[in-house]
Amino acid sequence: MRPSLVLAAVALTVAALLPLTLDPAGYLIRVLTVTLLFAAMSQAWNIVGGLANQMSLGHAAFFGIGAYTSTILLVNYGLSPWIGMLAGAALGAAFAALVSVPTMGLRGHYFALATLAFGEVMRVIANSWPSLTGGPAGISVPFAPDSLLMLQFKSTLPYYYLMLAALVLVTAVFVVTKAGALGYRLRAVKENPDAAEVVGVDTARVKTIAAVMSGGIMAALGTAYAQFTFFFDPETVFGLGPISIRVALIAILGGIGTAAGPIVGAFVIIPLEELANSWLSAGTAGLSQLVYGILLMLIILVQPRGLVAPVEALAARWRTRRAR
């Protein structure tokens, strides 16, 4: 068996057993649940950012679409969030396809700028359409007794497993995509779009497929988030800093384009943020964010390929030595 598979199996076993040792309504399990969610979100971003190498700064758009779609359907029509999740994912995917049209020819900075604008458009719309979204005041998921059908629980434990399942699923999608024909085509497009076209790769199509997958998954995770927090407003789900930049940062910290990257990144950043918030925030608004920004710049300057890269290099050296 390949060492990475062994590692994944061990990590998954630990992740599955760990909460049994924790207080099911405690603080620690909440942090872990959020960490798993952000790892999954970042993994979804990784499909566009890592495989297609398109630096999206607008993934909050999809996330918010998912959160609002399921919650609005739940509040207004009493529909199960599972249905809302499907509807949200469909809308998120459709919006991703729509965004792909004008951003198709854009690369690097231009793509980042355009996606940033799309994210902000959604934030502005959510803020200025109170009859649908509740506007800046936010929207609440109506309380219901514990039920898997309505995806609502008093304890954090079920959410933990929900997010863990989500992370496993998204990671599986990422790995299968990367290893499959689409993954090869995306890498080709990332390296040299002209050459890829000339040897038969429909660059527009593969980029759109990646965006649609990523957007749809991101929206589904938005629903999971809404059910987990019960309350959110446009700034929390459509926010540039809280979502768009954060999911990108997590992937970059861990290692962009690798399956382990977003997971490692999330397990570093989210607990760190929580620590910073609980230690520093008393009276010093901004300090934890300041630390966060400094961290981001340090990563870029010191280890731009992410935390996973040196480990991988070490593993590769070890393998070649053993092969000899």
Binding site: R185, A188, D194, G200
Partner: protein, 241 residues
């Protein structure tokens, strides 16, 4: 000519105010090796890029096996059987040699069989031993061969080779020329842009000469070598020296 695999008629290409190609017409018969020559800046690479759809056609028609391909995207044209190699080598540098060629093979095959095809194409160009090297780590002549293998893997009818012999020594050049001939023997139609006159003259059945974006001559290698206009424009210095 009715058996033309590729028929180019009155092809023009403008970049802003610059007329890069003007009214270029020629045909290529099935199984032919056509040479395309001309001084630097004559429009050879522009012509290739226009044929495969990287540049949009300004005016004129390009027919591949009777089908109009002008205005189609490169991947559609590749699917119809026309592809090219890049003059300055445009490999996917961070991917392995095998994966580079694999991308081309994926055009008509699933992943599993594409892998087999890719390995076979690499064998054919003599790179069977470096499948798992990173493309960016290859020498320049090796890279040109990967280009060729990648183009072959798409299963083309017509293949445009843009200076695949640049930077090769005499032995390597003979090997590539042998390879090109064997491709023709397999039914491929080939257009070659090359600066080495010896290679062009011995390899090609026919030659088209471009200068300032226009076709100034067309004919057998022997006839081209004697054409006074061509000699003045281009051959004078290099071939007769």
């Amino acid at each position: 000519m009715t058996d033309a695999v590729l028929a180019v008629a009155n092809l023009s290409k403008q970049f802003g105010g610059l007329q890069a190609l003007r009214d270029v017409s020629f045909t290529v018969a099935a199984g032919e090796i056509l040479g395309l020559i001309g001084p630097n800046g004559a429009g050879k690479t522009t012509l290739f890029n226009t044929l495969v759809g990287i540049h949009k056609v300004s005016a004129g028609s390009i027919r591949l096996e009777g089908r109009e391909i002008a205005g189609r995207k490169p991947h559609r044209i590749a699917a119809l059987g026309l592809t090219k190699t890049f003059q300055n080598v445009a490999l996917f540098m961070d991917m392995s040699v095998l994966d580079n060629v694999l991308v081309g093979a994926l055009l008509r095959q699933d992943l599993r069989s594409a892998r087999v095809t890719a390995a076979a194409c690499l064998d054919r160009v003599g790179l069977g031993a470096v499948l798992h090297k990173r493309a960016g780590d290859l020498s320049f002549p090796e890279r040109a061969r990967v280009e060729l293998a990648r183009a072959l893997a798409t299963g083309p009818r017509v293949i445009l080779l843009d200076e695949v012999m640049a930077a090769l020594n005499a032995v390597e050049m003979d090997a590539i020329m042998g390879l090109i001939r064997s491709l023709r023997a397999d039914g491929l139609t080939i257009i070659v842009v090359e600066h080495h006159m010896r290679a062009i003259m011995t390899l090609c059945d026919r030659i088209v000469v471009l200068n300032f974006g226009q076709k100034i001559a067309e004919g057998s290698p022997a006839a081209i070598a004697r054409d006074p206009q061509v000699v003045r424009a281009y051959l004078g210095r290099e071939y007769q020296a």
